[in-house]
């Protein structure tokens, strides 16, 4: 066990959606301390330019490095799509993003070798999932569909019923019509697992069969386990703690539990 083992894992996201990653990591690695940063004052990243997202991602990473994290996890798919190589060049600890683990799981799940990706405009336009899947298997065809209304739907808590169903249909029917061979759909945004029920239902109707849904949170937790094991940096005992920081605390008590799966007891506000 290396001296780094007792240092925390750092996880950042543009907002509270990354708490789904915290939840998955705590389940898989219950001894690990976690420091979470949600950049809620500048959320969302998904509609913003690569340049702005890279700048904000560096600021988030610097904050977590000041907390002496042993591993940096980029929960936000948009930040992962734009900023991974820039972060890897500069941070000095291993970095796990959302795209590569999600792509890995999609490659394992697809039989038709046609994969769909739903995500923010930034994630879809970046082509990051296409690039990651091409490395894994050049024969896989990837088609992306930006779904800008899914994040506000999830934050509003409108997860069932006619409104989310009609919005999901509008996005997914278009993808299914253009790409009928898709059998696997990556939920390429930390908010989307909350809409998994509706997305699965609408996708099954659109393609006429069950579609595998890939949620990157659990894939990221597996990647974190593998990385810490390989580096001999896993913490072996104790109940892992969670320290959470946000750049704006508005509605946090109301929205955070939807993503974390339990109340967020303590958090601090920081300026970046």
């Amino acid at each position: 066990m290396s001296p780094q083992s007792n240092q925390p894992i750092g996880i950042f996201d543009s907002g509270v959606g990354g708490l789904t990653v915290v939840r998955a990591v705590r389940k898989r690695l219950p001894h690990e301390d976690i420091v979470y940063l949600g950049d809620t004052a500048r959320v969302p990243y998904g509609s913003k330019s690569a340049e702005t997202v890279i700048r904000y991602s560096h600021a988030c990473a610097q904050f977590l490095l000041s907390q002496e994290v042993k591993l940096l996890m980029v929960a936000c798919n948009t930040a992962s799509a734009h900023a991974m190589s820039a972060l890897r060049r500069t941070v000095g600890v291993p970095v796990i993003g959302a795209v590569e683990p999600g792509a890995q799981t999609a490659q394992e799940a697809t039989v038709s070798r046609h994969v769909g990706v739903v995500g923010t405009l930034g994630t879809v336009r970046s082509g990051a999932y296409q690039a990651a899947l091409r490395v894994l298997d050049p024969d896989i065809t990837v088609a992306g569909q930006a779904c800008p209304l899914f994040v506000p739907l999830a934050e509003e808590g409108w997860l069932e019923g006619d409104v989310p169903r009609m919005i999901a249909r509008r996005y997914i029917d278009e993808l299914a019509a253009a790409h009928p061979a898709i059998d696997t759909l990556v939920l390429g945004c930390t908010h989307y697992p909350l809409l998994q029920g509706i997305i699965g239902e609408v996708a099954a109707a659109a393609w006429g069969r069950r579609i595998a849904l890939v949620d990157s949170a659990s894939a990221m937790a597996r990647a974190a386990e593998a990385t810490l094991t390989a580096r001999d940096e896993r913490r072996q005992e104790g109940n892992g703690s969670l320290r959470a920081f946000v750049t704006d605390a508005s509605r946090l008590d109301e929205v955070a539990p939807r993503f974390l799966g339990e109340p967020l007891d303590h958090y601090s506000r920081v300026d970046l």
Copy 2:
């Protein structure tokens, strides 16, 4: 005519929605030069805390003051709701917000003296329209309804059809059921005029009669004209220019013309 007359008017917004105010000001005051700032890297303000919105509003105001504006206009309703008194204390030029002119027009329009306000969560929770209308007429009853999905709908360009209609119904039916005497509805967010058609239709169905819709952009332009006239600072001749600055340029060419009513030919990116 005072020496300030040839200085520009400064207008800021959390994003591009404030271009509806630019459009109204150019129509009413065609000789005036305008400097516009859209804080598109940190948009939206509507879901964020008062503290964060005040901080960002000061940064926007400082940038416009560095451009030597003679008048500052806060196009963003959320910024107006939270930051007006803080800005008025510090900027040294007259400040026109969105809330007071909108409240003034609503007071003129209502007969039943029951006014509804639709806006972001921040605007509605602030109670700013209630406070502004109470000053004008203590007997007017004001009821607010936050509509968080209207901004993403407007930015997505989904302005007609089933999806915006169902979303508008969900918000407005709730307001109508609780406040049947409302005859005037303030569109308390710069994005909402794009959804005016749907909002008017759904409101007429919900209340069973035509509802007056108040758009603060034209009310703000009237207030600017009155302020500059009173201070003898109106520019008397020439075609007014528009210089636009944004903090993130993503999708600007696509989205800005919807609000400005014409293409946005030139803009520069700035960091605040």
